[in-house]
């Protein structure tokens, strides 16, 4: 009887440990989602025709590890989800057409320079032939990761394993500028930030339970909002 009592007490303490552990995990999982925030500096109703053509250009001087193709992969699909009639002209085709302009060292970076370049008769003719209305230029791309906690691993003749807990905060911050090739103006800028916390407990083996995909979230958000804007929905 005494044994039964003792056993019952052990069972309840085991239950308490499991509940506490599960509760702790839930607490960690709650903020472990990815939160996205967007900012737009675009006057309302700047664009009214959804059937527009755009070119997506990266910034090879400022952001060399994220090229035009990466930018297209990042936001094209989410743009087309929102506005399937939007036409995305490949950056390589645009750059070949307007060479020597829009190369890394000759891309206009101010409104005045932009007006001079697009005001060039031959450039205008070629841009018109391509049918491009807007240039979307990447102006910011940053991702930072901060690691916390710790996992300790060890081994011996009887075996080995890890024990501990690590989590990491990841923040991504992307921004694009929208240039109007017809009106020779800067339509505005759109920025998007995402933050998320990843968690990785280690009990024998470290297993990541949640990996925040902040860059994917930012790409999706930027693409959606760009497409809404270029469809005249915002």
């Amino acid at each position: 009887m005494a044994f039964k009592k003792k056993y019952a007490g052990g069972e309840s303490s085991m239950k308490t440990i499991i509940i506490l552990t599960a509760g702790l995990f839930l607490l960690w999982l709650l903020p472990a989602c990815t939160k996205v925030q967007g900012y737009a500096n675009v006057p309302p109703s700047s664009v009214t025709n959804p059937e527009v053509s755009v070119v997506l250009l990266s910034d090879p001087l400022g952001i060399p590890d994220f090229d035009d193709e990466d930018l297209a992969k990042c936001i094209s699909s989410s743009m087309l989800e929102v506005n399937p009639v939007l036409r995305v002209v490949p950056a390589s085709q645009f750059k070949e057409s307007v060479y020597p302009y829009f190369m890394p060292s000759t891309t206009p970076r101010t409104l005045d320079n932009f007006k001079v370049v697009i005001g060039n008769e031959e450039v205008r003719r070629r841009v018109a032939a391509l049918g491009v209305r807007y240039l979307i230029i990447l102006i910011k791309k940053e991702t930072f990761t901060d690691w916390h906690g710790g996992i300790f691993c060890g081994g011996g003749p009887g075996g080995g394993g890890c024990l501990g807990f690590q989590w990491w905060d990841r923040n991504s911050d992307f921004g694009v500028a929208i240039w109007d090739l017809k009106d020779l103006s800067l339509v505005g800028t759109i920025k998007s930030k995402a933050a998320g916390t990843g968690i990785m407990p280690a009990f024998i083996l470290p297993i990541p339970l949640y990996v925040p995909r902040t860059e994917t979230a930012v790409c999706q958000d930027l693409g959606n909002r760009l497409a809404e804007l270029l469809s005249g929905r915002r």
Binding site: Y99, P100, S105
Partner: protein, 220 residues
């Protein structure tokens, strides 16, 4: 059994090459030429273009490595002179009234009346660097810089200008129509774009153009 023998032989051969410290060299093919003529207002002057034999034969051998102390013994050889001259020839032909390849900086007596000036291109520096995953995502950065000399038909130097370009690429799996070094081709193109948009802004070049009796508004 046979396949096991072959794979063992290959393995031993690879091991032997590594132990023997053999290095691998690869001659790259570069083609920086444009598929369309540049979007640039032509300049109505006749130029002679001179490339020194050293320039035309200029190559750069670079070891594939992430950090300065590393050693991979894998080398790439970049034919910079050839690729640069091919693009420069294409650009010159599309922006000047006429272009003549010269064998020296000073045109011969026969050539003198046919050119308004002579352009010479020289490679100053070249860099090709893999940016390794620890730093950012893996990509290759290439930089090239040149000096462009402009001489009058009597061989007097009018101006000497530095131009430079940068190119980057992310190595991707490629099965057909692959480029050996996109980054370098992009850097060469960027440098030539720099030449087209900045060289003619120089006061000495503007003065030279104005002496060629260029009509008002025909300057780029």
């Amino acid at each position: 059994m046979l396949s096991l023998r072959i794979s063992r032989r290959v393995l031993f051969a690879a091991l032997f090459l590594i132990v023997a410290g053999c290095s691998v060299e690869r001659n790259l093919k570069l083609d920086a030429r444009l598929s369309l003529s540049p979007a640039f207002q032509p300049i109505p002057v006749r130029v002679g273009v001179f490339y020194s034999p050293e320039f035309l034969a200029a190559t750069k051998k670079i070891e594939l490595k992430c950090r300065p102390n590393e050693r991979t013994d894998i080398f790439f050889i970049f034919p910079l002179g050839q690729a640069s001259s091919e693009l420069f020839d294409q650009i010159a032909a599309s922006i000047f009234a006429s272009v003549r390849r010269l064998s020296g900086r000073v045109p011969s007596a026969d050539e003198k009346g046919t050119v308004d000036g002579v352009l010479e291109l020289r490679i100053v520096a070249f860099e090709w660097k893999p940016q390794c995953p620890q730093e950012k995502s893996y990509h290759i950065l290439s930089r090239i810089s040149y000096t462009v000399n402009l001489f009058d038909p009597d061989g007097r130097l009018i101006t000497s200008a530095g131009i430079s370009g940068v190119g980057s690429e992310k190595p991707k799996p490629c099965f057909s129509g692959c480029k050996d070094s996109y980054a370098t081709e992009r850097a060469i193109r960027d440098a030539m774009a720099d030449f087209m948009l900045r060289f003619f802004e120089r006061p000495e070049v503007k003065e030279w153009l104005s002496k060629r009796n260029m009509p008002e508004g025909s300057l780029p």
